[in-house]
């Protein structure tokens, strides 16, 4: 008889192995899916996971897509650790692009060296303001931050859409819903020649480092870990819950806001009706695949970035629909949650003695 049995204590090894196993199983699922779709599994695997990064430009693209994921996931993880569930990174990213991009458009012709740093700061503030809405509603009226932050995503998208269709539309843009192209002085410099890898990647790596120090070394980070693991203990010790909710949401908002302006002032170079292929949602998966740990997030964001690139390559090379990226993201999260069962449980093969003894 096969049965699940609770482990005496959670397995540390499984905790770290489980994302790796889930990633490997996701690859296996990909092979099975492509076989079912009548494609050669090996070709598909190559086209999906190897071809996109087998040259310098490809590696640069890996970084370009990993940067926002890494940045946002690091910010979200700070809140997630204390059970503050910010699902609104997509909206906060959008607001970051709107505020940073708005500043750029406002001082379009200034040519000032301060325009770019100003835009990044404005992006962070925009993301934080958007995250402050669920924070204030949660601490004042005890509303559910999951619902509020999630719904604000759609509001943010509509706001951006209104701006690029209306007041911020490029007057010489043939009526396309796009802003003017950002001036060079407002663009993030490329840090690897012949690629699109921009300064935003370094912001993301710096955020990972800061996140590590915050979570592991700072007292407030400690308080947030306690609140996440045992709310009763945080109450007993007198840790300020409202402050943690604020920090948790604002950290995610700031990171997402910076990611948003880095997209607009990086690979895109202007404001469009949509500036993110779902980074704000994918970052939630990245945070959990990375076990909310900064180093884990760094690795998981590279994996997730590869899924994005592979999805694009699959569309071009194999003619697969764009939904393939979403399928892989979903399968990865699903498998991670499934494999996580074995952190707390183990499989036992044995017959029970009781039935023999009592029959």
């Amino acid at each position: 008889m096969i049965r699940l049995e609770p482990r005496p204590r959670a397995s540390k090894a499984m905790r770290y192995l489980s994302p790796v196993i889930a990633a490997a199983l996701t690859g296996v699922c990909g092979v099975i899916f492509s076989a079912l779709a009548g494609l050669d599994p090996l070709d598909t695997f190559y086209a999906f996971f190897i071809a996109p990064i087998d040259d310098r430009y490809g590696l640069g693209e890996l970084g370009v897509k990993a940067a926002p994921l890494m940045l946002i996931a690091t910010g979200l993880a700070i809140g997630f650790r204390s059970n503050v569930w910010n699902i609104g990174a997509e909206g906060q990213l959008t607001l970051g692009a709107v505020s940073g991009g708005g500043l750029v458009l406002l001082f379009y012709d200034s040519g000032s060296a301060w325009l770019l740093p100003g835009a990044v700061v404005a992006g962070a503030i925009g993301g934080m303001l958007w995250a402050a809405i669920p924070a204030i509603l949660r601490t004042r009226f005890n509303t559910n931050e999951i619902l509020v932050s999630l719904m604000l995503n759609y509001v943010a998208l509509l706001l951006l859409s209104y701006l690029v269709h209306g007041p911020w539309r490029d007057p010489e843009g043939f009526n396309f819903p796009e802003s003017r192209l950002f001036p060079d002085s407002a663009m993030l410099p490329v840090i690897l020649a012949d690629t699109r890898l921009h300064l935003g990647f370094l912001f993301a790596v710096a955020a990972v480092a800061i996140g590590w120090v915050f979570v592991r070394r700072s007292f407030i980070g400690y308080q947030m870990r306690v609140a996440g693991l045992a709310g009763g203990a945080a109450e007993y010790a007198g840790f300020n819950r409202a402050r943690m909710i604020w920090i948790g949401l604002l950290a995610g908002g700031a990171a997402a806001g910076v990611a948003g302006i880095c997209e607009a002032a990086g690979p895109i170079g202007q404001l469009l009706p949509s500036i993110s292929p779902g980074y704000g949602y994918a970052a939630i998966i990245v945070a959990f695949v990375g076990r909310l740990h900064p180093i884990g997030i760094l690795l998981a964001s590279l994996l997730m970035s590869l899924l994005y690139l592979g999805g694009e390559a699959a569309q071009m090379e194999l003619g697969l629909p764009s939904a393939v990226t979403g399928i892989f993201q979903g399968v990865l999260l699903f498998l991670l949650l499934a494999v996580d069962l074995f952190v707390n449980y183990r499989v036992r093969f044995k017959t029970t003695v009781v039935e023999e003894a009592l029959s």
Binding site: R9, R217, Y222, A233, E235, Y236, L358
Partner: protein, 519 residues
Amino acid sequence: MTADAGGGFTAPRLELRQITKSYPAVMANDGVSLRVMPGEIHAVLGENGAGKSTLMKIIYGVVRADAGEMLWNGRPVSISNPAEARRLGIGMVFQHFSLFETLTVAENIALAVDGPFDLEALAARIDAVSERYGLPLDPGRLVHSMSVGERQRVEIVRCLLQEPELLIMDEPTSVLTPQAVRGLFETLQRLASEGCSVLYISHKLEELRTLCHKATVMRDGRVTGMADPARESAAELARLMVGRELPVCTHAPAREGGAVRLEIDGLSRRSDDPFGTDLEDIRLRVHGGEIVGIAGISGNGQQELLACLSGEQPLARAQAARIRIDGREAGHLDTAARRGLGLAVVPEDRLGRGVVAAMPLTDNALLTAHRRGMVRFGMVLSSKVEAFAGRCVRDFDVRCSGVDAEARTLSGGNLQKFIVGREILQKPAVLIAAQPTWGVDVGASAAIRQALIDLRDEGVAILVLSEELEELFEISDRIAVIARGRMSAARAARGTDMEEIGLLMSGLSSDAQLECAHD
């Protein structure tokens, strides 16, 4: 019920042979054998974690044994669920009751009784049974309005309606006043005289000696001895139970004349919980250098009082003066600010409140001791934290694999020593401890009580809330009683006795007459 008073060979009512049950981390029962004769009150004695409760759950069909045999009236049986156990004639009263507070007594009982749903007929049967066994009970009363002792009566009557041949009682007296305990014993003796067997689980030695015919003593999942409790001394039983002599606390009288360090002056507070207890005009002064104990049956306002005193539920600004710590108004302050004034608290729940289970002892030391120079510029100074945790482990004899050990790997007793140590090492002005030795083994209990007494002698004001009267009498200098959210005046522990405190524990409640009717 059958009376097996006739001569000749009588099969045991229940016989267990070599019952074994292991959980992933622990061997709960290891080859346990037990015989209960008809009409016998049989004690199962052991400390917390000795495997008593697991054994009872196996008998009642809640848990299945890994190996072993069970014989019921001489026939081998296999009981796979409680309904089957009840059909055989086994009833069980759990330590934690399973009653719906919003239903009446009769409705609650109807849920557990097989047969057609007829409340009126049931009420008549309840009346009959409760009269016969001296368990006064009103079938139409809502459970939430009843005291813990009355709720226990509902559970017992519910079992008796099934006409059991074996009644299992799990720590039944832990929630009763001394007077109510006597009433319960009369009921059990009456049942036994009619041939019903009783399995009586407890760790209280004195009461076993007055009630039980036989005792099986357990330690670490094994049977360590059989005894006739009436003949053995309490010390002998303790030795069987603990494996060594019971340690005793040394306890000199408190020095007189310490300044008032904790003052509660007319504290009233309505409970947010509809089934909680409202606190009414509580007044108490605790001086430096004394231990004041608060006795009371659980659910009479202890939790609410603790939340007000610790600052987890601070009072309104206007009521700031209701609580004073070292003379300073503290009623409106939150937990952190009160700790700043020198308050330390040992909470009732260890895992999840007193410590974070999944964190190492170092991080758990930081939980409340962070004020002792462990944080600079918002960063944790891990060397200071390690030094503090190490001192705590050394000074209070906490058995663990090191300060990096996760809190959940420690036994209840060692964990409690760590928590008490952590609070004491912060050199508090006032220490409040709730159930400081609940579920803690005898050795650790004695160490904790001694630590509290030593702290008292250093001039700290100590307030202990406990449901264990023996404990309060052992360490307190003065004792007050809380009942229905009201507090009696504190009296000198040496000038009162359990009888008087027991009367107060029930005396302020509306069922005073009922409880007294037992005498």
